[in-house]
Symmetry: C2
Subunit: 128 residues, 2 copies
DNA sequence: GAGACTAGTTACGTTGCAGTGACTGGGTCC
DNA sequence: GGACCCAGTCACTGCAACGTAACTAGTCTC
């Protein structure tokens, strides 16, 4: 199997500006997990690779929450070592077009938003 | 001027299921404020009408945050009584298609999500 | 002169999301 | 017999978002 093929290219860099996006899907990591699962089922540890900065506790919470909402399924394979797979449901896949719209907005407008922010903050700092 | 023409039909009812939507724009009220401004500029108190449950403090914070991000402008008319108008910028309008995609998802899938949630919670309650 | 209107501000409290760090348990590898 | 693997759990902490309640300034109306 491929070792570290990029599941999703950007967005997972700590310096990625997507953290500033005004759109949030489910909780902080929910949208990224859904994108990571777009290409097919993944295991817990496989998800941790692209989501470098996520703590196992937080990933567990995110996955449980997505499972509760019917966006993903959790399948336990009774093997050794333990093997758990997460996969998008059709309902989870239904999120993808809306997420794509949010990402498109980001590509087109995030820079403008950040510039506006700097302008606003700069004005405040200079006025003081 | 029209007195209480519905700025946006639903979404502002306290019982509205949109509160459960997995999509969040800016902060909790940001998306709704943008929608309220879609039809044209509005005053502080005019925004409070459809957003019944919002506290003035929270609305101020929301508006300041949207202004900082360059989504709205704040114009003070030096009149009496005081008169302040909020209006979408082109950048703010650029959010509308993505917001529309999120709302479309809601119309099509919110019920399925809520059903999944009830199923999940129900299973847990019965197992205990 | 009491009250209302507009557009907020201030002080304070609660809740919940997110994060850290340590730990678990069954099995395999060396 | 110690270390490692996977897929987590547990106890705790920090902090920002959200909310309530009360209050403000200047003007206008009753």
């Amino acid at each position: 199997m491929e070792k570290s093929a990029p599941l999703v290219p950007d967005m997972f860099d700590a310096a990625c500006p997507s953290a500033a996006s005004p759109f949030r899907i489910a909780d902080k990591w929910g949208g990224m997990v859904v994108l990571c699962l777009e290409a097919g089922p993944r295991r817990f540890t496989e998800l941790r690779v692209p989501l470098q900065r996520i703590a196992p506790k937080v990933l567990t919470e995110t996955l449980r929450s997505l499972e509760r909402d019917g966006f993903i399924t959790r399948t336990v394979f009774d093997e050794n070592p333990p093997h758990v797979e997460y996969e998008l449901t059709p309902l989870g896949r239904s999120l993808l077009p809306a997420i794509a719209a949010c990402r498109e907005w980001g590509f087109a407008n995030l820079d403008a938003m950040r510039a506006a922010r700097e302008r606003y903050d700069g004005d405040g700092a200079e006025a003081a």
